[in-house]
């Protein structure tokens, strides 16, 4: 059995490891765009802020490909898939034939529209090479502009602040991380960042840049301008599936997969940032481009490719971050619409700077926001993932003393 995996990220790696575990004789070819050894993408922001060196990003042993008998084909993107003949074409290279194919090509940074994007020192922050470029630019940089208040923009701002730069964050919505947290937690985060010197400008976006070779200033939609010598674009990511033939593989925002991570085409699977599958809390298809989902989906895809029909219950959006003095954990739906039958319970303790908010739909927990009390967050995430009905008084789950024994009535 020949397995071909597109993607050298954690979804592809997890799938390859699972296939090898279940089928010692299988052929595994791994096609990847990034040439470096498997590394931990969420940790690149820690290289930027200086808390870890570059060489600590590796997450597998140096002889990983040899040990798992994986044939790596790195440095090129896949250009086409021939579904009928079961082959994958690679730029500047011959076609590779497969019996089972996994598309784990991940996502690319969402581009922005603005003038003079070609100027130096305008970066995305997605790969370790991006961060390497940013670090090279740092010695001559004093003022940074971060576009986007999502996770990437936010981590970039945090890292640059740590490096001693004056950072301005530009967000379209009213507060940072508006996709991840609710307004109350968003305000706590904004206040904390402001206290540490971050300037946040809301409800504005960039229309163009200017500079002599290198970026020097940005022009905003409201007519004002900001001086900056380093720019980071963090406007989210888009699934990387331009090589996927739409006539044979169903694609929405991401590649649509079933409970076995299989696409609409037999023997072709998808996992990770590129896949779109049922989201447990939203009860509809969703692309959850997060690390732990990529691990789980990669493992499930690997099991199914190796012949074990294992089903995945669905994905769940979730995030945890430490922001100076704030620990924030969120999962599922954090900003429920007011018209549906959502029940929201919340508790805040301003003195301890804690905040908890739980969102229920009937007797099921479907969303949470925790600030500065994240230790029991995994219990709540597990409750959401297993869709366990909550039968205890909901306010009990907000108490500081909550533990999972309290979910059991007797």
């Amino acid at each position: 059995m020949e397995h071909v995996i597109i993607g050298n990220g954690i979804a592809g790696i997890s799938a390859a490891e699972m296939i090898r575990r279940l089928d010692p004789a299988a052929g595994i070819t791994l096609v990847g765009d990034e040439t470096s050894h498997p590394y931990c993408r969420p940790m690149i922001s820690m290289v930027l802020d200086g808390s870890i060196p570059h060489d600590r990003l590796s997450i597998r042993a140096a002889d990983f490909y040899d040990e798992f008998k994986i044939k790596p084909v790195l440095g090129n993107r896949v250009s086409a898939i021939d579904v009928a003949n079961k082959t994958v074409s690679i730029q500047n290279d011959a076609a590779i034939s497969y019996d089972k194919l996994l598309i784990a090509s991940g996502a690319d940074p969402r581009p922005i529209k603005a003038d003079n994007l070609h100027l130096q020192n305008i970066f995305f922050m997605r790969t370790r090479e991006h961060v390497r470029g940013m670090l090279d630019a740092l010695p001559n940089a004093r003022k940074a502009l971060v576009l986007g208040g999502g996770l990437v923009g936010f981590k970039a701002a945090y890292g640059l602040l740590h490096r001693g730069l004056k950072v301005t964050m530009l967000i379209r919505s009213g507060y940072p991380l508006s996709m991840q947290v609710d307004a109350t937690a968003g305000k706590m985060i904004r206040d904390e960042l402001a206290r540490r010197g971050l300037a946040v400008q809301v409800e504005a976006h960039v229309v163009g840049f200017d500079g002599n070779g290198r970026v020097e200033r940005a022009y905003l939609s409201d007519g004002s301008e900001i001086d900056c010598d380093i720019v980071v674009i963090g406007k989210g990511v888009l699934p990387a599936h331009c090589f996927v033939p739409r006539e044979s593989i169903k694609v929405d925002l991401g590649i649509i997969v079933d409970r076995h991570q299989q696409t609409s085409s037999t023997d072709i699977y998808a996992a990770g940032d590129v896949a779109e599958l049922v989201d447990i809390s939203r009860n509809s298809r969703w692309v959850n481009a997060i690390w732990p989902e990529a691990v789980s989906q990669g493992r499930i895809a690997g099991m199914n490719m190796a012949g074990r029909k294992v089903a995945y219950k669905g994905s769940l959006s979730r995030n945890v971050m430490r922001i100076f003095g704030l620990d924030v954990m969120t999962a599922g739906i954090v900003n429920p619409s007011s018209d549906a039958d959502y029940e929201v319970t919340a508790a805040a303790d301003p003195r301890r700077r804690t905040y908890r908010k739980l969102v229920f739909l009937n007797d099921r927990l479907i969303g949470m926001t925790l600030v500065n009390c994240v230790e029991q967050g995994g219990v709540l995430v597990a409750l959401m993932q297993s869709e366990t009905p909550v039968t205890i008084p909901k306010a009990k789950m907000l108490a500081p003393a909550f533990n999972y024994r309290q979910l059991i009535k007797r």
Binding site: V374, E375, G378, N403, R405
Partner: protein
């Protein structure tokens, strides 16, 4: 292999396991000297209460596969096969709290400890007292537990005992016996107090 087995129905919530655990994870290994250490040693077993104030010792299950291990970004969480124990390498840990989001039992805490680099906050959880076990001692929580809510034994034996208890309780002709009568009485008492308070 012997393991610590939790019998939550017997727990009275005395928290002696917490003190013993913190002491076992100190530099000096004595209660009175441990509290003078910097950083102050902290327990990795957490006694909480259930809905009716019954005691509940919450301890790492050392799951396999371990959700915390799969979620760990830097690969700091690993399984020690000899002791069948999930361990955290404090040198690799980046204190990102990804494991807090993954642990279905909520047993991971974040603080400095005497086995981690000085001044570094890291994830900490039960390590099955591997240091004590290598010296031939049993885990501190099980050693100190006075009511056998925590026992150190072969899982198969504990399971057999439990199966026998259940079998006895459902078989007719055998006198119904409450094997932990005192605890049942205590927990019933606590429960009634709360229920009466609610009316």
């Amino acid at each position: 292999m012997k393991k610590v087995i939790v019998h939550p129905e017997r727990c009275v919530g005395c928290m002696q396991c917490m003190a013993a655990c913190a002491t076992a994870h100190s530099r000096t290994k004595g209660l009175f000297s441990a509290i003078l250490e910097t950083p102050v040693p902290k327990p990795r077993i957490h006694v909480g209460v259930g809905l009716y104030n019954e005691g509940f010792p919450n301890r790492c299950r050392h799951c396999d596969p371990a959700p915390c291990q799969l979620a760990c970004l830097p690969g700091a969480i690993f399984r020690d096969l000899a002791l069948d124990t999930v361990l955290i390498d404090p040198d690799k840990c980046i204190n990102c709290a990804s494991c807090a989001m993954a642990c279905p039992f909520g047993v991971i805490r974040y603080h400095e400890h005497c086995f981690a680099p000085p001044g570094k906050v890291v994830a900490a959880k039960c390590d099955n007292c591997f240091e004590r076990q290598m010296q031939g001692l049993i885990p501190a929580c099980a050693e100190v537990c006075k009511v056998h809510a925590l026992t150190f034994e072969e899982p198969a034996e504990a399971l057999k005992r439990k199966t026998d208890e259940v079998a006895r309780s459902v078989s007719t002709g055998v006198l119904q016996s409450d094997l932990a009568a005192g605890f049942t009485l205590l927990n019933t008492h606590k429960r009634k107090q709360i229920e009466m308070g609610q009316d």
